[in-house]
């Protein structure tokens, strides 16, 4: 799979991004510059960076692979990926920006008792970041092994080393520009591929889908629901997990603080939504295009009929078919760049949770020295990078899809309920928020562990105790109900303070 062109393009990307890190390091002196790029990113740039954070290799390779294998049902994941953005713009963009400084913990700390709120928010953020890192690193290792022929361990080390460099040298500014470049490249790659696929069918959608249905073993069934999901609850629980999980991802929420004002924050979410929507529309064309075009190429299949490299390699094969060596090189380099950029974004969010929330605000109660805090940030970044290599190695032979479900479900069941209630419900108390987040965290981890992805595929039991991989439909209500019950029955002095402070918070949240 490896070509000189892909290696050359990848090295060029690395060179450019390392130069950006050096450039950003000259402009990153203060805490605000490190965590939120000094609030100087424009709405469009931030929209691109948010889109870059979300358009991961899992989306590009994984969802295309699902559409190739199962047809229409792969669209459920695409629909789940686009719905979070309009909700982010409507519910969070203004209020979060006006209330927070560096991350969403600042918002909870303003509304609730600071130490407990920050501890709870930073714990869930670190858990989500680590789970997300595992999924990214395992995917990265396997992908790079296949694309570039590098040993799995080397691939992990390269991804971690480059991401640590971007973050620890250039902070949020470097990470943002790496994301912007990567998002632009990825969007260009999928746009070229979609154009070339449609070109093969004279830009006739009907012809594309007809050929796809004719060539796929399942025939017309690939255009109907039921290829992957057997019951409606399975679909809805994925939709719930993905929609609300997006609204609870710490590395995404953190980006709402990198713009100068509310107007730019709204613009960020709007542009992110548009770019992500466009990306998934292109993916639909690529997904069905891969069915129509790859199945006519017997040399791409092994003796037992599976595509070389597995379904995740479908977009790479398609690039070769429609665009030749240059496009395959470009798409492979972009896939690698995608992983680097997403891991960098995660490292910023994880290091901010440790150094800003735990070290600076809880341990030193806001009196920490700036240099020392930034040093802790860099140490945390390096530590998280090393942890991600170790976990990537430990989970090497495990099911990536099951691991990838975890961060979305945990984010939907911990951060999202607490954040939305903190912003819009007067009666939320510190105790209610912490218990709600804990209930969401425990229930989501337990249900995922006893679900098919872990219980059957990792532990090897014949039957799962819980039938769904994405338990968001059950765990999100658990978190909301716990927040509601504990908050409404909380008669403590702190609870009164929490309720009284809400009105003032709302005015602050609505004023730029």
């Amino acid at each position: 799979m490896v070509t000189n062109k892909s290696i050359a393009l990848f090295l060029f990307f690395v060179f450019v991004t390392l130069y950006i890190s050096y450039w950003a390091s000259k402009r990153t002196r203060t805490r605000a510059e490190f965590y939120s790029a000094g609030g100087k990113i424009s709405g469009f740039q931030n929209g691109m960076a948010i889109a870059g954070d979300f358009m991961s290799a899992a989306s590009f390779l994984g969802i295309t692979g699902l559409m190739y294998s199962f047809g229409y049902d792969g669209l459920i994941f695409a629909a789940g990926a686009v719905v979070g953005w309009p909700l982010m713009m409507i519910l969070f963009a203004e209020r979060l920006h006006n209330l927070g400084t560096y991350n969403f913990s600042d918002v909870l700390a303003l509304r609730l008792e600071e130490t407990r709120a920050r501890l709870s928010a930073s714990t869930s953020s670190i858990v989500i970041v680590i789970l997300y890192l595992i999924a990214q690193m395992v995917g990265a290792g396997k992908l790079i092994e296949l694309l570039f022929g590098l040993p799995y361990e080397y691939a992990l080390a390269i991804v971690a080393a480059l991401s640590i460099t971007y973050v620890s040298v250039g902070g949020m500014l470097a990470t943002t520009w790496v994301q912007i470049i990567k998002a632009g490249l990825l969007l260009l790659a999928v746009a070229i591929m979609a154009f070339l696929v449609l070109y093969q069918f004279d830009f006739d959608f009907a012809q594309l889908f007809t050929v796809a249905a004719t060539r796929h073993a399942k025939g017309d069934a690939i255009l109907m629901p039921g290829g992957l999901f057997k019951d409606q609850v399975q679909v809805v629980t994925i939709l719930v997990s993905m929609a609300f999980g997006t609204l609870g991802l710490p590395h995404i929420l953190m980006r709402l603080f990198t713009v100068p004002d509310t107007r730019e924050s709204l613009k960020s979410a709007f542009f992110a939504s548009g770019i992500i929507s466009l990306f998934f529309v292109f993916l639909v064309i690529i997904g069905f295009g891969s069915i129509a075009l790859l199945l006519a190429q017997p040399e791409l299949f092994t003796d037992n009929g599976t595509i070389i490299g597995g379904p995740n390699m479908v977009p790479i094969h398609l690039a070769g078919i429609v665009g030749g060596d240059w496009l395959i090189g470009f798409v492979s380099a972009v896939a690698f760049a995608t992983i680097l950029a997403v891991v960098s974004g995660l490292l910023v969010a994880g290091s901010a949770a440790v150094s800003h929330d735990i070290y600076a605000r809880i341990v030193h109660t806001g009196t920490s020295n700036r240099e020392k805090e930034l040093r802790i940030t860099r140490i945390t970044t390096i530590s998280l990078g090393i942890i991600s290599i170790l976990l990537g190695k430990a989970f090497q032979h495990h099911n990536v899809a099951a691991i990838a479900a975890l961060p979305m479900v945990v984010a939907a069941s911990t951060n999202f309920p607490v954040l939305i209630l903190a912003l819009y419900w007067r009666n939320l108390t510190t105790r209610g928020a912490i218990m709600g987040a804990a209930a969401g965290l425990v229930s989501s981890v337990v249900l995922i562990v006893i679900g098919p992805g872990v219980w059957q595929k990792i532990f090897g039991f014949p039957e799962a105790l819980f039938p769904y991989d994405y338990p968001g439909l059950f765990t999100v209500p658990v978190a909301f109900v716990t927040c509601w019950i504990i908050s409404t029955t909380d008669r403590s002095a702190r609870a009164e303070q929490d309720r009284c402070g809400y009105a003032e918070l709302v005015v602050k949240a609505e004023s730029d």
Partner: protein
């Protein structure tokens, strides 16, 4: 919170828009998943008619609807006076 009726009204109006738009988005989102099977029963996959399959068409429509909702939200939001101007007026009036 400043005891000012117009500030209450502004916040309430903004929250009303947020609630309506969020419910509309969630309705379309879950409707897409629940409704597609029924639509398929009504219209077929669309492949026989040499048209874009209904499910794919619905997905493109869903994405377009989301973007439309966002534009509508922004228009509605900018029609409400911002809280900054309300607070400014309040200050000038001596509140």
């Amino acid at each position: 919170m400043p005891d000012d009726k117009s500030i209450h009204e502004t916040i309430r109006a903004r929250n009303r828009i947020r609630l309506i738009m969020s419910l509309a988005i969630l309705f379309c989102y879950f409707g897409f998943s629940f409704g597609w099977s029924s639509l398929h029963d009504l219209f077929g996959s669309g492949i026989d008619q040499q048209a874009v399959p209904v499910g794919i068409f619905l997905f493109f429509g869903l994405v377009g609807m989301f973007l439309l909702f966002e534009i509508v939200y922004l228009i509605m939001l900018y029609r409400i006076p911002s809280l900054n101007s309300e607070l400014q007026t309040g200050r000038q009036d001596g509140h």
